[in-house]
Amino acid sequence: MKLLSSLGSKARSYSSRLLYALGFFYEVLKETGRFFRKSQVGYWVLRNQILFTGYEALGITAIMAIAIGAAVNVIGSSIQQQFGQSQLMYSMLIIVITRELGPLLTAFVITARSGTAIATELGTMVVHHEIEAYMAVGLNPISYLVVPRVIGVTVSIVILTVYFNLFGLLGSYVVAQFLNPTPTPIIEYMGKLLSILTVTDVLSGIMKALVFGMVVSVVSTYQGFSVNRASTEIPVAGIRAVGQSFILIIVTDVVVTLMQYA
């Protein structure tokens, strides 16, 4: 009986949290629709978010993309040569980098950098009553604090994904020059890549980036607002933002990939 009561209580608590999270997501979508239709004091928050999430992550994204592109090239070349299928290298690069690793790894980087930052920043604002202060002057925290972050993170992830793809393919080319005794001219290399690259490949990556951007930003802002009053809750919110974002990114990645290939 006690076990049943405990299970029931947990189920109620879980349902209540789920409903709250869905309500939060609905509010974010509603306010996002309104954001560009009216004069907003939130524009500078959006500008700062793009600057922090997008511009300041260019360096780490480039380094990672070059390294991943090189690794894909090295691993792919050695396997394909065993089967005499070296010409498939270009197709593999396009599929692995543009469709999968570009959006996925970019989202992971942004989760680690901006997801934690957003959750802890908002959590700190809750603890210091800054959110209540915004409400007291008539600013809706969702439209003023959440929406610019959601738009900023999503736009940044899309741009960084394209940027990752470019540097990933470039990294692959650089490694190919070291491995190949007869280096391929870059014009020829790019020509072969572009002849294989389709609009679907590009759109597939961008679509994933859009979904991942929404996931990271909504989860991080939600976790930031879940802080109640103690400063000890702030790092917990950061950890939860990262953990839940990673899980949801992987789940949505599988779902979107299945939709594309089914």
Partner: protein, 277 residues
């Protein structure tokens, strides 16, 4: 003098219950704050003052019951009504609650940007400067809150609540963290608000402030409003459980006048002198 029972209520709580997590701060509390009067709620630490004033200001939704603003249920406010209420009100937080990533200038300017968006930069800067100077603040507008002492932050918080000239001002323990000079500035501001007929709701444990400015007085203890009414009536009613709080006020004797309507600044000053006797 406004009658606590007969005057139109600016804000009214009806059977309102406040909860904080699993803890019930107060239960089925009803109180009406009269329009145009200064109401002071006295209470010791942990009595539920902050929850009460935040609920009255629409910052803490009641778990049960309703909060009315000039007769309208605030829980049913749409975006437009909510914004109109915020334009008509200002809130001073107990711990200042300034926006840490924003300069003092911008902290005070944001209510103007929200409620008076047509102001140009020069007009906005002038209003910010004028409001801060009323509180004795004339420089350092580019500083961040972290650069200020807690008392200075409190003064900026008061300026932020008043900059858009609201008709209804909520002050949660406005005297905390303030030194004597700053308290004098606060008293000047309160005198001016009274003289202009603003509705002011203050929660505090400072009996001096209550003695000087309360038209209506309430005593909150452990989430229960033990007494509420016109200042003199409430003080006169001091019963055993209120002795500690109200006997102190009763011992001060008569006030010069609960509402300095004529020669306001002078009256406020005179009242101040009497309170020092």
């Amino acid at each position: 003098m406004p009658d606590a029972t007969a005057a139109t209520a600016a804000i009214e709580l009806r059977d309102a219950t406040a909860v904080s997590g699993e803890y019930e701060v107060f239960k089925r509390l009803s109180v009406a704050f009269p329009e145009g009067a200064t109401t002071v709620i006295l209470g010791s630490t942990g009595s539920g003052k902050s929850s009460l004033i935040k609920m009255a200001a629409g910052l803490l939704p009641p778990a049960e019951g309703v909060v009315l603003f000039r007769g309208q249920d605030m829980g049913r406010f749409g975006r437009k009504e909510e914004l109109a209420f915020r334009a008509a009100s200002g809130f001073v937080f107990q711990d200042a609650a300034l926006w840490a990533n924003t300069s003092i200038q911008d902290n005070v300017a944001i209510p103007l940007r929200v409620h008076q968006p047509k102001l140009n930069q020069a007009e906005l800067a002038e209003k910010v400067r004028a409001t801060l100077s009323r509180l004795g603040w004339t420089e350092g507008l580019a500083l961040r809150p972290v650069d200020l002492s807690s008392g200075e932050q409190k003064l900026v918080s008061i300026a932020r609540a008043l900059v858009h000239d609201p008709s209804l001002v909520f002050m949660d323990d406005p005297g905390s963290s303030l030194d004597e000079d700053s308290m004098d500035k606060l008293y000047e501001v309160l005198s001016e608000l009274k003289s202009r007929g603003k509705t002011v709701i203050i929660t505090t444990n400072n009996s001096e402030l209550a003695y000087r400015y309360a038209d209506c007085l309430g005593v909150l203890k452990s989430g229960a409003l033990l007494a509420f009414g016109r200042y003199e009536e409430t003080v006169a009613k001091a019963e055993s459980e209120l002795d500690v709080t109200l006997a102190r006020l009763r011992a001060r004797g008569d006030r010069v006048g609960p509402k300095p309507s004529a020669g306001q600044a002078e009256a406020g000053s005179e009242m101040s002198q009497r309170s020092d006797v």
